[in-house]
């Protein structure tokens, strides 16, 4: 048989990797918006003479942050410990459950409604009960709140990523004589990674929120949650806002760590996200 002339299909040429200057350019707009918003806030509060118990000026929040720095930093550490440890334990449990569902399909049918029921329960409202179980000064109660909040999104998404695999890819692995373990390693786990990281981003923010709300209900003193409630109770609103600011930073840092992990473990997704 003669060779049939096959013209090359034109395909997109490999894109040039985005440079550091490109990354800074993408950071610039939100930075500008942020700075403008803070300046506008400061100016508006001064111009309209808004009472500081309603909204304190950014400058007074920063001042409160620096005067109470030691307390707030300690609070951030305590809250951060609860949030991160709860997040890690919750993620481990959720991933283990998702893997179990992949191995035994009936588990998926049994666990999914349970996980949904768990998600519909206002877990943080259970905090006072958990405090009774573990004692008010023990962080376990708060960690349990965080764990309970984290499990649902991570479990549901990871299980989906493990199960929603192209049938062709599974059959292909069969043609290679690969068993369940090989399919898990070569197909299901990499397929689940984007789902997992998406849920981890949600869960990292939820973990901080859950930890702080749990702290509102009592327990150990000197945490961000207790600093916020106490300061508000004593009308030290700038100090309360300073603690909120640190809580926000904590959430952002956790989120950023997840993004870095995502880029490390899924280099193939990076370019796609930039398209």
């Amino acid at each position: 048989m003669s060779t049939v002339e096959a013209p090359q299909t034109q395909a997109p040429k490999p894109k040039t990797p985005s440079t550091d200057s490109g990354r800074w350019r993408s950071l610039l707009p939100p930075l500008i918006v942020g700075v403008v918003a803070v300046v506008a806030w400061e100016v508006l509060v001064r111009v309209f003479n808004i009472q500081k118990f309603l909204i304190p000026r950014p400058s007074s929040i920063i001042a409160a942050l620096s005067t109470s720095w030691a307390d707030i930093l300690e609070g951030t550490k305590r809250t951060g410990y609860v949030a991160v440890s709860g997040l890690i334990v919750g993620v481990i449990i959720a991933v283990a459950l998702a893997l179990l569902c992949t191995r035994f399909r009936f588990m998926a049918d049994a666990l999914t409604p349970m996980a949904a029921a768990l998600a519909a329960t206002p877990i943080v409202a259970l905090a006072p009960i958990y405090f009774k179980w573990f004692g008010a000064t023990d962080p376990t109660a708060k960690q349990l709140v965080v764990v309970s909040v984290v499990i649902f999104p991570v479990f549901i998404n990871t299980a989906r990523g493990l199960l929603e695999v192209q049938n062709v890819q599974i059959e292909l692995m069969h043609t290679y004589g690969v068993g369940d373990w090989g399919i898990l390693r070569e197909v299901r786990l990499p397929n689940a990674l984007p789902f997992f990281f998406t849920s981890l981003k949600v869960a990292s923010s939820l973990a901080v929120i859950a930890a702080i709300v749990a702290e509102y209900f009592g327990g150990q003193q000197g945490t961000l949650g207790s600093i916020i409630t106490q300061s508000a109770g004593l009308s030290r609103y700038d100090r309360a806002w300073a603690a909120v600011l640190m809580a926000a930073l904590l959430g952002i840092v956790l989120y950023a760590i997840v993004v870095v992990l995502e880029r490390t473990f899924m280099p193939w997704q990076r370019a796609e996200a930039r398209r």
Partner: protein, 274 residues
């Protein structure tokens, strides 16, 4: 190309039947009484209406389904053994490439699973990239390629372990007509270069005729082979598509699909195996 190999035929199918959901209300007889022998190096197309069981038949050869009756031998072996021995490569309608692997790494996957070392895998994948005319695309990700290019990668992957047998389930079904014809040309070239035996499932009559040494025509409910039409076109090239024999063979296949008697003009001795 059809020089009959006197040794073991590539595929022997005897009295194969396939019933899904046997004994239940939704019982479906997909195949009955299938006999087919494919010689090494032959290119066979399976064509027929939807639901005639042509994909099922191919999947039985590949041991992705187990027939409820009859016997199948692939290279003289049980299909399961042939599968475990990597005797065949398979390509589907969907390319089924892995996004987390580069194009090269996708092609190397079966070799990785066969524990080839890295240097050998890389040599082989670059050979295959040349073969499917994608030499510059090895480092790219599958989603950066067009549909036709992805399908070429899938074919390269199916060829990776140099299997003597290729099982192809409508691999060009999702491609546009122009790309499709070009891919057919490439497949003909690749088969000539590798000497592979091919079972090719398709809906397209011209495609079946252009590619095949024999076109196996099937009918639905229950799935049966109604005709086997040899195609005597010799070497394929772009002129083949204009050749009167090409059109005559297309007519023969079309009439066989309609169930009409095949006119003798085609010069093809249709073998009625039903």
């Amino acid at each position: 190309m059809t020089t009959a190999d006197t040794t073991t035929p590539a595929i022997e199918i005897q009295g194969v039947g396939m019933v899904f959901n046997g004994g239940r209300p939704n019982e479906v007889t997909a195949l009955t009484d299938i006999d087919l022998t494919v010689q090494a190096g032959e290119f066979i197309s399976l064509i027929g209406p939807s639901g005639c069981g042509k994909s099922t038949l191919m999947r039985i050869v590949g041991d992705l389904e187990t027939p409820t009756s009859g016997a199948v031998r692939v290279n003289g072996k049980d299909p399961r053994q042939a599968r475990l021995d990597h005797d065949y490569g398979m390509a589907f309608q969907q390319a089924g490439l892995f996004d987390w692997r580069t194009v090269s790494a996708n092609i190397e996957l079966p070799l990785e699973l066969m524990k080839w070392n890295k240097a050998r895998r890389q040599t082989r994948s670059s050979e295959l990239l040349d073969l499917v005319h994608l030499a510059d695309f090895g480092a790219m990700r599958p989603w950066e390629l067009s549909g036709g290019m992805q399908q070429r990668v899938a074919i390269a992957r199916a060829l990776a372990a140099s299997p003597g047998l290729l099982l192809m389930d409508e691999p060009f079904g999702a491609l546009d007509e122009m790309t499709r014809e070009r891919m057919q040309g490439e497949l003909v070239r690749i088969c000539a270069e590798t000497g592979a035996t091919v079972i090719f499932v398709t809906h397209s009559i011209p495609e079946a005729v252009y590619l095949s040494d024999r076109v196996v025509v099937m009918s639905a409910r229950p799935g049966q082979i109604t005709d086997v039409i040899p195609v005597a076109l010799g070497e394929r090239n772009e002129d083949t598509r204009e050749d009167p024999t090409f059109f005559a063979s297309i007519t023969a296949v079309r009439e066989a699909l309609r169930g009409a008697p095949v006119p003798a003009v085609t010069g093809s001795n249709s073998v009625d195996t039903s």
